[in-house]
Symmetry: C2
Subunit: 325 residues, 2 copies
């Protein structure tokens, strides 16, 4: 009876082991160098007794959002949300027909709008502040539920990359905590990050506006103010990581110059570490852009990646599938 | 065989159930009203099918630190760290003998130092900024490893409250995520919160200074600057919660007027929620202070607790043990 039990246990154990080994954790990645480098890194830091072993609480992985987890063309999706918000409210604001930047939006002059940083800031302030946190969440969630991407006709939350969803799941299955560290607004990303990426609000680091705490009709509320609190981009990314997470990542993933310092900071850690840059080089299945693009420019970070031997992921060659299934 | 197996399973199951029931999750709490209220709340929000059930990802509990998780008399421990830092560096700075606020520290004039907010700020700036994040961590950890409390002779990390350690563990065992939300410096608290409270760096929210990212000798570093980035106190606490956590707590614990808005914000939530205030009324085993204290003043928040029926924990009557064992 005892022997039989042991035999059965061994059979079950080996069976499970071979199923686990047979399952490809990254099925939407081609068997090219980046996939091999990711798996090799994860195995190295999770193997107890390995010189590169990292304790689970120190397995911090940070992901840029725009262009890394979801697409960012033809314009950052959060800008599109701001533009759509102006259009939705235009009937209540006849004065906007004559006012910058609203008249650019209503007249369809995207070029003038995007060319002028001040216009863009004013548009973002109108659509993101001057309201309570609850009111903002309501608008953003309604937009995410209904707005469609102009090229693909997909919901914006379906413009996320299948290979990156697999990478998030693979890292989490190996004890990593996954964080978003993005130049985008933290309040906007938190409206979909948990459902779409499995990343809870407290693991989303982003740019933020100042707020004011008020009691109105006996109820406390937080009002978003049109003043910048923190910009989580470029040098701001390692600062955001230190402020919000308080621990240096051992893995970081980005796609543009805005991510350069986050990747540098990660590579400067003392233990094992790994980074990659996603290169948008697939005009057919997604978009093709890099050094000269206004959206998600990849220029200085690409040079640093080349100089230092960081992994560069080619969407065209390294990804079997682009968008989530 | 089958009947026997079922009988055995039932015996084991009931055995485990009675062990679990017999184990008191809060043994250092007297069986008074606060303990009953805590347990009743936790059972209500974790019982599936209960109208007050809260999904695990929304079980956010926030704790003030000074005076709630550890003591704060005769002065906030972080101030004592700053003072000790000045003393340690005095030999290298002969000019300090004539300079405010350093001459107060070196001359032992604590009253003058504490009476002057500017002096205190200058002292904190000297001891907390103008250095890299790694350098600061080294000083703070060394101090926490060696400095002793003037009254008890204990290490400062042993000046934490046993009943609160049990509450942290009890909440976590019930699927809560526990956060510190404190007016104290986030970088200082992160040097001991994980080891002492089991709260990892990314779950510590506090006041912070601005930082600068730099490459020095080819290595990236973060420099702490003597400029305030965020003050996580009073109205700042709900703002800090929204900025860092992005979700309203369902439970919050504090001890002073600095916590009033965090407790209000928590009680303003739509689902089940629970808060308490720790009242320092045990002059024999700890300290006794409230409305008139310069450290941890409890005045307005106490009035609000009375008016709204928030639980007030008496250290004298509700806690069997004060400090960690």
């Amino acid at each position: 009876m005892k022997a039989k039990f042991i035999r059965l246990t061994l059979v079950v154990a080996f069976g499970v082991a071979s199923i686990v080994r047979a399952q490809d954790p990254l099925p939407s990645w081609n068997d090219t160098a980046p996939k091999k480098a990711i798996i090799e890194f994860v195995e190295r830091v999770t193997k107890e007794g390995s010189p590169d072993f990292v304790k689970p609480e120190e397995r911090i992985a940070t992901f840029d959002n725009d262009g890394t987890l979801w697409a960012e063309q033809p314009i950052y999706f959060q800008f599109q949300f701001g533009i759509d918000r102006v259009k939705a409210l235009a009937a209540q604001h006849p004065e906007w027909k004559k006012q910058k930047p609203f008249r650019y939006v209503l007249g369809g002059d995207m070029k003038a709008l995007l060319a002028d940083g001040k216009s863009m800031m004013a548009l973002m302030a109108m659509s993101h502040t001057g309201m309570t946190t609850d009111e903002f969440d309501e608008h953003a969630k309604e937009w995410l539920r209904t707005a469609k991407h102009p090229k693909t006709g997909r919901l914006y939350t379906q413009m996320v990359y299948q290979p990156m969803l697999e990478l998030l799941a693979y890292l989490r299955a190996n004890g990593f905590k996954t964080f978003i560290v993005s130049g985008g607004g933290v309040e906007f990303m938190r409206c979909f990050a948990e459902q779409t990426y499995g990343i809870p609000p407290q693991q989303v680091v982003g740019s933020s506006s100042k707020m004011r705490y008020e009691i109105r009709d006996g109820k406390p509320l937080l009002l978003r103010l049109p003043e910048v609190q923190f910009i989580d981009d470029k040098q701001g990314k390692p600062i955001g990581i230190e402020t919000f997470i308080g621990r240096r990542p051992i893995a970081a993933f980005g796609n543009s110059d805005g991510d350069q310092q986050m990747l540098e900071w990660t590579m400067g850690g003392s233990g094992a570490h790994f980074v990659f840059i996603v290169h948008h080089d697939d005009a057919e299945r997604e978009w093709s852009y890099d050094r000269k693009s206004d959206v998600g420019r990849l220029d200085k970070a690409w040079d640093e990646a080349m100089a230092k031997g960081w992994t560069v992921v080619s969407m065209k060659n390294d990804w079997k599938t682009i968008f989530m299934k």
